[in-house]
């Protein structure tokens, strides 16, 4: 456990070593928040959610928190390749640390950072657009954001395990991130997508996470459990897959 904490400590040190990097990693979702919730928000007007009209800002903000998870998960997962190529992975694996502990530390580190990003975005946009959510919803968001992060980072780590080089990973990520971002309900309600795109939207882990956050922030508490359970189940499944693949990969350095 101590070694796992040591690795998480390292992940957080790496993230916080440059305030500029922290600011830049927050910039993408914040810019999207401003652009979409003003420009698109005016064009779209109100959105129907669960049969009730809500402002576009109220609709988009929970999804934008998931966008924050997406951007920080991507940048953190590519560090696997950088560490392998720089010799840092061999250094870490030369400590009494198993490949599984290393991969789990990546999960923990990324989840902590991504959750902080998600919360910051949620907080700032809530203030910006004058939204009001009660304490219970905020507490539920504190559970939902890490779960969403685990689900999304699993997707990236799975791909890390399946491709051989950083170059291939970056190409795959550029493609996949755009699809995950725009073929999701972050910006648009699900019924706005036409067939067969709506199938892709439905199975997209970003959609599943965004709908969970939307449920937490906008729907009655009775709906949260189902949404949280769905994200937990899918996240667990993908985590097991990613950990197994990466564990196997890092056994041979």
């Amino acid at each position: 456990m101590g070694l796992l904490l040591g690795l998480v400590y390292r992940e957080l040190k790496l993230y916080t070593q440059s305030p500029t990097n922290v600011a830049l990693s927050l910039a993408t979702p914040v810019i999207y928040a401003l652009l979409l919730s003003t420009a698109l928000g005016r064009a779209v007007g109100d959105v129907i959610h669960n049969g009730n009209p809500i402002s576009y800002a109220a609709f988009a903000v929970p999804g934008l928190a998931v966008l924050a998870l997406l951007t920080s998960s991507m940048s953190n997962s590519q560090s696997l390749f950088q560490e392998r190529d720089s010799g840092m992975l061999l250094e870490i694996m030369s400590c009494p640390i198993s490949p599984r502990t290393y991969v789990l530390a990546k999960y923990f580190g990324t989840t902590i950072v991504a959750t902080c990003h998600g919360l910051l975005l949620l907080g700032s946009t809530t203030l910006l657009f004058g939204l009001r959510w009660d304490v219970l919803r905020w507490l539920a968001a504190l559970i939902g954001l890490p779960l969403g992060s685990i689900l999304i980072v699993s997707v990236y780590l799975l791909i890390c395990g399946l491709v051989k080089s950083l170059q291939t990973f970056l190409i795959a990520m550029n493609l996949l991130s755009m699809v995950m971002m725009f073929a999701s309900t972050i910006f648009t309600p699900q019924d706005a997508f036409v067939w067969p795109l709506n199938l892709l939207v439905m199975i997209n882990p970003v959609t599943i996470s965004a709908e969970m956050m939307r449920s937490i922030m906008l729907s009655p508490a009775t709906e949260w459990i189902g949404a949280l359970a769905q994200v937990t189940a899918l996240g667990t499944l993908l985590t097991i897959g990613a950990v197994r693949i990466l564990e196997h990969k890092f056994k041979q350095l």
Binding site: L3, S86, L90, E91, I92, I97, L253
Partner: protein, 319 residues
């Protein structure tokens, strides 16, 4: 090759084979490292030194053979071995954008060491290696030698049964090398086994108790540096003076003497019977009207023995 028949063995390698794709990295390697000794591994690039280090740590598997490290099997007990082993890798295993001190602090946590005591020890070691002024600098700003010293400091934080160093003194200044070997000797005196690789054969001969010469994934010879030189045998004839290029081109075929190095001011031969070879060499030089200012005969050094052992591929690479 068994060199430790009556000693306790820290690392035992027996008929180990390892292939990366089409490259045969180890081809039936066999050697034993005595407990508490300082053992140097030498060999040309691609001889299998780094592969051996990785196999010992259990971070790379092997195709066949037997390996025992501190009585443990790397294939199944790699974690236990790594828990008892400090390592300085050949490639930089540091977080480049973090400071020296951050890197040390992280290492302390990754090794599961007691934080306060280890930080105190780290500060002393960093001072001993002249790094106290760069503590807050990002690693990326450091020179190659300084970066290497940070890796060494981290490894020396432990008091391990086994210390493995892959080219630890590359780019490191002489003063820090002395500090390193002094610290390493303190460790071996307490029973630590040290295995290190290098291309600096002079240094290897000077500090190592045992030297293993590897080539093509096999052990060519293993013994003390002095015995290795004796085993290879022969003497070196060094002649100083003025030698034309034409002379140097024609002097390669003298019976009993093999020209191994030459320049306009120096000819170096190796010979198994210098007393027979020298008159012939001098006669040839005299016939060619070369000017001779000094002649000396001495025993083969470890470096020269190494060159003979590994063949022509790395001939005089250390000069």
């Amino acid at each position: 090759m068994q060199v430790t028949s009556n000693l306790t063995v820290a690392i035992a390698i027996s008929d180990v084979w390892k292939k990366y794709g089409r490259t045969q990295a180890l081809a039936g390697l066999a050697l034993e490292v005595p407990k508490g000794s300082l053992v140097g591994l030498a060999g040309p690039n691609g001889a299998g030194k780094t592969t051996l280090v990785k196999i010992i740590l259990g971070v790379t598997s092997y195709d066949s053979g037997q390996v025992t490290v501190l009585g443990l099997a790397p294939r199944t007990q790699g974690m236990q071995i790594r828990g008892q082993t400090a390592i300085v890798h050949q490639r930089s295993g540091v977080d480049a954008f973090l400071s020296v001190w951050d890197n040390v602090q992280i290492y302390i946590r990754l090794r599961g060491l007691e934080v306060a005591a280890s930080e105190t020890k780290a500060r002393e070691l960093l001072r001993d290696f002249g790094l106290e002024k760069v503590l807050q600098q990002p690693m990326i700003m450091l020179s190659g030698g300084e970066s290497r010293k940070v890796q060494i400091v981290r490894a020396l934080l432990l008091d391990p049964p086994l210390l493995v160093m892959d080219e630890p003194t590359a780019s490191v200044d002489p003063e820090s090398r002395r500090t390193l070997w002094s610290k390493v000797r303190q460790l071996t005196s307490k029973g630590t086994t040290v295995l290190w690789t290098t291309h600096d054969l002079h240094e290897m001969a000077a500090v190592s108790d045992w030297a293993f010469v590897l080539k093509g994934g096999q052990l060519v010879r293993g013994d003390t540096p002095r015995n290795l030189a004796r085993l290879v045998g022969g003497d070196v004839i060094e002649i100083r003076g003025r030698f034309s290029e034409e002379l140097r081109a024609n002097i390669t075929e003298i019976p009993a003497a093999r020209l191994i190095r030459h320049s306009s001011t120096e000819l170096v031969f190796e010979s198994n019977s210098p007393e027979a070879a020298l008159p012939r060499v001098v006669a040839v030089l005299h016939d060619c009207e070369a000017t001779i200012s000094a002649i000396s005969i001495r025993s083969v050094t470890f470096e020269e023995a190494y060159v003979r052992l590994v063949g022509g591929e790395v001939r005089w690479a250390f000069y």
